[in-house]
């Protein structure tokens, strides 16, 4: 506090100069907000890429799935590499089907239940992957302005203390301190606004993907249920 950052009138007011003149609390806030902004944008870029990849993979899978190809063949090709999205749900369901059916399932209802559980689990894992880190965007979006405001209040406080020390209320003395303090709020808003927009867009995108995957899971569950009904009486008969 001893070297109070009182800017003399006529001092350069560039952004960098303002940052250097600020007190250490304000500097800390500004640096934190800058880091948050960088991380926000990293998440946004990452998610946008991930969602577009996911969408493409879903499209390809649906194309393959409904092409009339044998499910066993599909399972064999998919399980060789690490599947994503609908692929992972399909693989999880098929794995459970094979384990139970090939060893001879006693109850078709129990088998159906197990397959549904496996698919739910796979779906949840996929969704977790999709929606992970969106919470950080939400946090930055809501807390960023407050953090910036905190920096501003502290900055204005110190600059007023400096003004009181200088015993002059000239606007030229008051203005630089306030400008430098307001820079903190500006950075806070700069980080928060894209975060809020991105959060809303990404969460709605994730919701759409989730709906598509859930729809596929239900459909696949229906297909498997029909298969069970057809194959279990045959096993019994055999």
């Amino acid at each position: 506090m001893e070297n109070l950052p009182l800017a003399e009138p006529g001092v350069q007011l560039s952004v960098w100069a303002l940052f250097l003149q600020a007190g250490w609390v304000v500097k800390l806030v500004m640096i934190g907000l800058l880091a948050a902004s960088i991380w926000t944008w990293a998440i946004v870029v990452d998610k946008l890429l991930a969602y577009s990849r996911m969408r493409r993979s879903l499209n390809r899978f649906e194309q393959v799935f409904w092409s009339g190809q044998s499910l066993d063949d599909l399972y064999r090709t998919l399980s060789e590499r690490k599947p994503t999205g609908m692929g992972s749900i399909f693989v999880a369901a098929m794995r459970e089907w094979k384990k139970s059916f090939e060893k001879g399932a006693k109850s078709p209802i129990g088998l159906q239940n197990r397959i549904d559980k496996a698919m739910d689990l796979a779906l949840t894992r996929e969704m977790e992957r999709l929606e992970g880190q969106l919470g950080f965007l939400a946090t930055i979006g809501s807390a960023g302005p407050f953090v910036g405001l905190f920096g501003t209040v502290v900055g204005i406080m110190t600059s007023f203390q400096a003004i009181a020390g200088s015993k002059s209320t000239n606007l030229a003395v008051v203005a630089p301190g306030i400008a430098e303090a307001l820079l903190a709020t500006a950075i806070g808003l700069l980080a928060a606004i894209p975060a809020v927009i991105a959060y809303n867009k990404l969460s709605s995108d994730a919701g759409k993907l989730a709906v598509r995957m859930e729809g596929f899971a239900d459909e696949f569950s229906a297909i498997l249920s029909r298969q069970i009904d057809e194959k279990i009486p045959q096993q019994r008969a055999a």
Partner: protein, 402 residues
Amino acid sequence: MKAGLTTSVVLHAAVLGFGLFSLSAPAPLEVADVEALPVDIVPLSEMTQIQEGDKKAPMAEKAAPTPTERPDVVENAEKIGDNDIDTENPPTPDGKPKPVKTAEAAAPAPTPVAKPALEDTPKPKEEPKPVPATELAPVPAPQEEVKPEPVKEPEPKPEPVKQPEPAVKPEPKPEPVKQAEPKPAEQPEETVAAIEPVKPDAIAEAIAEEKPAPAEESVQLPSSAPAPQAKPRPAEAQTAKANERKASEKPVKEASSKPKSDDTGSIEDQINSVLNKDKAKGGGAKRSTQTSALGGEKNKGGKLSRGEEDAFLRQLQNCWSVPAGAENGDSLTAVVAFQVDPGSLKVTGRPQVETSSGNRAFDQSAVRAIMKCSDQGLQLPLGKEDIWSDVAITFDPRGMYF
């Protein structure tokens, strides 16, 4: 995630870098230098009412009386001037009246009609004339009373007077005194001796003719050449007296009174003694430092403040007992005028009913109310005498007003 982070960092670096170079130091706000216009709020009355000032001075934005020379302030002074005490007299212009008076005094001097008779002596008198004339010339200058120098000159004069006295003493006092008075101016003793005998005669004659003399004066003035003879004497006497007075009061009185009582004879002396030769010092003691500007003698057209007016009217209302039957506001109104003595705050004389209400009892009740309040002492603000010293009040049961 790596891709996202690197893109983000690159993005931020680009934006910050751009910001540092392009957003640095916003152009300072150009503020036009505008001089503030001083605005005075001036009450309308200052423009419309007569302000204290000088009647002969040129008009200026603000009326002001002629500046006074003395800086010391006398409290509560109301009249402009250099005096120590406030007086009603207007200030008089400086000292020129005096020379005029001396001239006048000189003119009547010729009165000594007898002098022509002693025509032998006039010659020596004429000779001395130039001397007194030269003496006279310097005298008027000191008459302005400003310089102490003249005082010194007269002082030595009385001394020589004393010297001649002992010689003449045997004679009656009046004579020597006169001799001393007129001639004191460094008279060459010889001429003095010559003149002395003449004067007593002339004086004696003058005494005898005292009253007729003035009448003759006017006639003789033009004709008689000898007039100058007398001139120097009274003039010198005057100057001597004036100077003496200035020097110190007591000696002045003695000197001036003695010759008067003793001489009684010379009319000029009498006139001179009656005439006040001191510069009339008019004016009050209020000082002014501004250059004079057109205006009246004092601020006029003032008004009683609302509170002062209310207090006065309420006092009258308390004194007034409205006659029975008139309270109901039958539009009975009477205007009563009266003068107030500023000193005692009491009504002088008897209030006059200016506009009668038509109801005698009502009019008289108003007059009684004023007299009753007058006995108690009217509540009027000091310093505004010119406003309330002569007032007319409208008596109306619904409310009084000026």
